[in-house]
């Protein structure tokens, strides 16, 4: 405890929030945790800690009385939480991650009270980061442990109610954690102090934690609410670009994925591209996640595919996207369907199935384009004039191509329907002359954006 207080004192005099936050980390070697826990006993902890905090600063830097009380409460809560954490780490009898969670929640509440009424200054908000981040971690542990116990038939301590809802029961602590994080979100957002000393600088870190939590709880809509609240306040906020890149990238990733899930692909692409560009070049896992959504976006917005070079460092993405990409390029509809089917579980899990499915249109476009190219050129009416591609193409030719590509015979009506869809989606320009059995394609850009 003494060394904790020494660090506290140093951090207070240099106003170093990150150093201060280190004193509230549970992520220490066990011996160190052990030492903290043993440095005081239940009967004297409160006094030891308070005296320590009181004497830690002096002179001009002397902390006001309120703040001394506030930090004493914080470190007492920290000490108590360590007392739950140690047995849980060692799986001692009577220990549980639920107890760790509850004790850690007390710590977060003590911090909260410090900011609300005891004059904690905004430079110390990294303390909130460390404590909030670990609260979420302990919530996950607690839920996991409880679910395992339930599965093993140990239902002691479980209260069965009439409105028993297994789904929410499973994430009991994580849902509680989301509520706590939301409180912290409001705490940061509503700070009226001038920007340079405002808790608003904590907002993106907390939002990112909330996003992660809501995604795990499968409620993207709650994340959307956060974005709405944020945009209402955006005028009073420092710009995102003023925050550390780790926070910018994480935020842009989640903002992008949220747009993606709403099928707002243009915006999703914009956010994800920003996340990609700013991402640390060595953060392979995160880059892989960004690409998981950016690739389907590109397919739909600009009709482009990832190059071999782009996917080279990511074997998992190669497996995910290369078979589909090849089928799209070649216009092999049947093989595309098979590839989609083969990857279905993974695609669904990643929430990209529906988006990729729309890639079939691009495959079909490419198939029809092949027919157009195979049609060659018409003789120019003017001697030596520019060559013009044949633009009147029998529906029967497209029908043959589609039957070959999809490995099934389709009725002429169905073929025409597919063609009409292509035209409607602006993937092909022209019209169907039904009575003559021809498709008449535009002389200037029959397949927009593809050079013919």
């Amino acid at each position: 405890m003494d060394s904790l207080i020494r660090t506290f004192s140093n951090a207070q005099s240099s106003r170093d929030g990150y150093q201060l936050a280190q004193t509230l980390s549970p992520d220490l070697p066990q011996q160190q945790l052990q030492a903290i826990w043993k440095s005081c006993g239940h009967h004297d902890a409160q006094n030891v800690i308070k005296r320590g905090i009181q004497n830690s600063t002096s002179g001009f830097e002397k902390l006001p009385k309120d703040e001394v009380q506030g930090w004493s409460d914080v470190y007492l809560a920290y000490w108590k939480a360590i007392g739950e954490l140690l047995p849980a780490l060692n799986q001692a009898p009577q220990s549980s991650w639920t107890k760790v969670y509850d004790a850690w929640k007390e710590l977060l509440s003590a911090l909260y009270r410090g900011y609300i009424g005891q004059g904690f200054e905004a430079w110390s908000i990294p303390c909130l980061y460390v404590v909030a981040k670990n609260l979420r971690f302990f919530a996950l542990k607690a839920d996991e442990e409880r679910n395992n116990n339930v599965a093993a038939g140990d239902t002691s301590g479980q209260i069965f109610q009439d409105d028993f809802d297994p789904e929410s029961e499973q994430n009991q602590k994580l849902e509680d954690c989301a509520r706590q994080l939301n409180r912290i979100f409001t705490l940061c957002l509503n700070d009226r102090a001038p920007l340079e000393e405002s808790r608003k600088w904590g907002i993106y870190y907390i939002i990112n934690l909330l996003f992660k939590t809501y995604f795990k709880l499968n409620s993207a809509s709650l994340s959307k609410n956060i974005l709405k609240t944020l945009s209402a306040y955006r005028g009073d906020m420092p710009p995102l670009s003023a925050f550390p890149k780790s926070q910018q990238v994480t935020f842009k990733y989640y903002e992008g994925v949220l747009c993606f899930l709403e099928e707002n692909y243009f915006q999703a692409e914009e956010h994800l591209t920003q996340a990609w560009s700013l991402c640390h070049k060595d953060a392979m896992k995160n880059k892989e996640l960004i690409l998981t959504y950016l690739v389907p976006c590109h397919l739909l917005t600009t009709h482009t595919l990832p190059s071999q070079k782009l996917l080279e460092p990511y074997p998992r993405l190669q497996k995910l996207f290369l078979p589909l990409s090849n089928c799209i390029k070649k216009g092999e509809l049947h093989a595309f369907d098979l590839a989609l089917q083969q990857g279905e579980d993974e695609f669904v899990k990643r929430r990209i199935y529906l988006t990729l499915e729309r890639g079939r249109d691009i495959a079909l476009r490419n198939l029809l384009r092949k027919v157009f190219i195979a049609g060659g050129f018409e003789e120019s009416k003017v001697e030596g004039g520019p060559r013009v591609r044949r633009t009147r193409i029998p529906v029967a030719e497209f029908a043959a191509a589609i039957s070959l590509g999809s490995k099934q015979m389709l009725e002429t009506d169905e073929i025409e329907c597919l063609m009409a869809n292509m035209i409607y989606k602006n993937l092909m320009k022209g019209y169907i002359a039904r009575e003559r059995g021809f498709v008449v394609l535009s002389k200037s850009g029959a397949f927009p954006g593809t050079g013919v």
């Binding site: 992520d27 070697p29 066990q30 542990k141 996991e144 093993a152 070079k309 216009g331 191509a401």
Partner: protein
């Protein structure tokens, strides 16, 4: 740790040998859909993906169609089919 033990072991009351705290991270991060914490808070522009890819960025995305269509079986087959249609029409 409870989570890493088989289910029926999770409520075991036997004290387990000491495990370093750092190990607990792995249990959760197996969730592979979650954006990871970066090891550092901030970095220079030259360490971003954008800086790395400046000269190669244009090679990262390619067109979705393939003009080189004489090489593969499928295209050859397609040409055959189209010829058949042509022939049928002339008959």
């Amino acid at each position: 740790m409870a989570s890493t033990q088989p289910k029926n072991d999770a409520k075991s009351t036997e004290p387990k040998p000491e495990q370093p705290v750092t190990e607990k991270k792995t249990a959760v991060l197996e969730e592979d859909d979650e954006f990871e914490d970066f090891p550092v808070d901030d970095w220079e522009a030259e360490d971003t993906e954008a800086a790395k890819g400046n000269n190669e960025a244009k090679h990262l995305w390619e067109e979705s169609w393939d003009d080189d269509d004489t090489s593969d079986d499928f295209s050859a087959q397609l040409k055959e089919e189209l010829k058949k249609v042509e022939a049928a029409k002339k008959r």
